[in-house]
């Protein structure tokens, strides 16, 4: 009996700490485990007893890469509990802030974390020696995203300007004006990035996924919409708990999420794209077509193209918002504490992020639930590896390991978030 064990003790180029264990016995794949050993930090526990207005600042600290997503899901869920709606320019500014985070996070993943896999480099710095323009342009594109977050939020990581009801301070029109020229450059650069990602070579890997994302009648989703899937799911955020279940497995500090009747599902750019293609402007749809992508894409390896398309979309949407911006009279809507439960899903760069808060009459949080995108994707990532490994089992161990890592990185996993992940281990026997 021959056992092969592929073990990646610490998965690189992912956010946070995880490991992968694959066991192959007599050329049969016997086990795949994505282990999340990132230490638990107990956010849902210490949120109990905090004032609901603290939630955006506290939950931002779950993730340094997508703090805006945590702040957005937090404020929307709490506003839902307090029966407050934020509309007009304040709503647009929240979309603009999210555009900044999508650009910054997507470009970090496309160029710094994922592209080196396709070209065979250990990292982007090594890649920069042979492809200096690609890396330099990507860094500058990422910077434009960060500039949006810093202008609206005060700083790139853990912005300080988001509050329940709106913002502490809103910019005057002239403050946003310098971003316009930067964003026009960014839009051209993102278009170039879409073209470039379209030239990469992808393995044949079409899977029958259930995609889950927000869907809004008029726009590509950030903060609002119904939660839909390609297999008939169509619910409001408040019905999340009745449709999804979280399971605690021994090998992971992140809870595995499943759709109650059907199991694994897929959140993130690929899900959004498949479910919302028609909401993308003509510029982005045309760029997709030119890069060889139709309105449907079921190959997780091509998520790098979709991430570039979403970057292009975020540049275009940011420009649209800035063009029509008029400073609102008040930076925030007044909120009054009241007892209730609030629910929200928003679209983090890596996928849908669910928050639920129960509040007492003083606005103190009595219960909190947070389901990050990476815990939702864990089962699908393991399923992908179960499909992939038998196809590439004969590769030398180092190559096999690297391809497994690449398959995991297709999901831009954020382990810091999910623990609330990456070592790879392959065992052959």
């Amino acid at each position: 009996m021959k056992t092969k064990v592929i073990k990646v003790n610490m998965l690189a180029r992912v956010e946070g700490e995880g490991a992968l264990l694959i066991k192959i016995r007599d050329n049969q794949l016997t086990d795949v485990k994505l282990k999340i050993y990132e230490p638990p930090r107990f956010f849902e526990a210490f949120l109990r007893g905090r004032d609901c207005r603290e939630a955006p600042d506290l939950t931002a600290r779950i993730c340094g890469i997508c703090p805006v997503a945590y702040q957005m899901s937090a404020v929307h869920a709490i506003e839902d509990a307090l029966c407050v709606q934020v509309q007009g320019q304040l709503r647009s500014l929240r979309r603009l802030l999210y555009c900044g985070e999508w650009i910054e996070s997507h470009v970090l993943h496309i160029a710094m974390l994922h592209a080196p896999d396709f070209l065979g480099y250990a990292d982007a710095l090594e890649m920069a020696r042979d492809h200096p323009t690609l890396v330099q342009n990507a860094l500058q594109l990422k910077k434009v995203g960060n500039e949006i977050v810093a202008l609206l939020g005060g700083r790139e990581i853990h912005p300080i300007n988001v509050r329940v009801g709106g913002f502490y301070r809103v910019p005057v029109r002239q403050e946003l004006a310098p971003l316009k020229e930067r964003l026009k450059w960014a839009r051209d650069t993102a278009l170039e990035l879409v073209r470039w990602t379209g030239t990469l070579s992808f393995p044949e890997f079409e899977q029958d996924y259930e995609f889950v994302a927000l869907s809004h009648p008029d726009e590509y989703p950030f903060n609002e919409g119904r939660l839909v899937s390609n297999r008939g799911l169509d619910i409001a955020a408040k019905d999340y708990d009745s449709s999804f279940v979280e399971e605690h497995v021994a090998h992971s500090n992140a809870l595995h999420s499943m759709l109650k009747p059907r199991g694994a599902y897929f959140v993130g750019p690929l899900a959004r794209y498949n479910l919302n293609f028609t909401r993308l402007p003509a510029l982005v749809q045309d760029a997709a077509k030119a890069a060889g992508l139709g309105p449907e894409c079921r190959n997780a390896f091509q998520s790098i193209i979709v991430r570039s398309l979403e970057t292009l979309y975020a540049c275009e949407e940011a420009l649209r918002i800035i063009e029509q911006y008029e400073r609102p009279d008040q930076p925030a809507v007044e909120v009054q504490p009241r007892a209730g439960t609030g629910y929200a899903c928003t679209e983090a760069p890596r996928g849908m992020l669910y928050h639920r808060y129960a509040l007492d009459a003083n606005g103190t949080i009595t219960d909190a639930k947070i389901v990050p995108p990476t815990s939702q994707n864990q089962k699908t990532i393991e399923n992908d590896l179960r499909e992939l490994v038998p196809k590439i089992m004969d590769l030398p161990k180092e190559k096999l390991t690297w391809q497994c890592e690449q398959a995991i990185r297709n999901y831009d996993p954020c382990i810091s978030c999910a623990t609330h992940f990456l070592k790879v281990e392959v065992v052959r026997s």
């Binding site: 180029r13 930090r41 107990f42 526990a45 600042d57 993730c63 340094g64 982007a124 990581i157 509050r163």
Partner: protein, 259 residues
């Protein structure tokens, strides 16, 4: 003359959000230059390649929260000539140190269905509680300009130019009108370590303490001022109990408001 070997940089993660190490990748204008002057020898978030130690400079992010990490930090120390902690988690225990005031078993049962799968320590502690630390960079998150200054100073063999005064001085330097005096907004600026550039007051909000306590802070006096603005004891307790809750001056002040 032969060119000197480039110093080796390693980045280590303990319990954290990854935001402080991300600050290095957020130095879009300086990153390629930094990579030219220093060998990035161990940075798993950015690279699959790992160069063996010892390392000339280790940046440590995160706090110690598991038995395994309490061992690992000693290995990191042994492999590092200079060890610099970056951010509130590494310097004070971080937001996850809120467990230090509660029963961690209860916390586990709130979040996890199968508590027996979870291995964690009762307290989240800063790196300096475990090994000697050569320099601390404060903030939640750190200021990336301070990170570039720190790496630059290390390369030149000088002390990093990182001020230790309060956020108040940063406000004065920016010409910001005091939000506490002029608007009656409760602000932690007088007791909080500088480094953010007085961000919150610039956005019409009171400082909420991301950089932790400054040297010799008079927290009791500030609490008295907050009380005159109508802040209740439970709100004072929460104000001192956030990202730097377990830093001693903030810990003691929050405990003074426990009933």
């Amino acid at each position: 003359m032969p060119r000197a070997r480039k110093p080796k940089l390693a980045i280590w993660k303990f319990a954290s959000c990854d935001g402080c190490q991300l600050s290095l990748l957020d130095c879009e204008d300086e990153l390629l230059q930094v990579a030219g002057a220093i060998q990035i020898a161990n940075f798993p978030e950015a690279s699959r390649a790992v160069v063996k130690g010892p390392y000339d400079l280790s940046l440590v992010e995160g706090s110690v929260t598991t038995p395994h990490d309490a061992e690992r930090i000693h290995q990191v120390r042994r492999a590092s000539k200079f060890l610099v902690t970056i951010g509130a988690c590494a310097t004070s225990g971080g937001i996850q140190a809120l467990r230090n005031f509660k029963d961690v078993k209860e916390f586990i049962s709130i979040v996890y269905a199968r508590p027996e799968y979870i291995e964690t320590l009762n307290k989240s502690t800063p790196i300096a509680d475990h090994v000697p630390v050569d320099f601390e960079l404060r903030g939640c998150p750190i200021n990336k300009k301070q990170l570039v200054e720190l790496i630059g100073a290390f390369l030149r063999g000088r002390k990093p130019n990182i001020p230790h005064h309060s956020v108040c001085l940063e406000c004065k330097r920016r010409g910001l009108v005091c939000v506490m005096v002029s608007q009656g907004v409760a602000c932690l600026g007088p007791v909080t370590h500088a480094g953010c550039g007085a961000l919150c007051p610039a956005y019409s909000r009171g400082c909420y303490g991301c950089f932790g306590p400054k040297e010799t802070p008079n927290t009791a006096s500030l609490s008295a001022w907050w009380s005159t603005l109508g802040t209740k004891p439970e709100a004072l307790l929460r104000a001192f109990r956030s990202f730097n809750a377990y830093a001693e001056p903030f810990r003691k002040e929050s405990e003074a408001h426990e009933n």
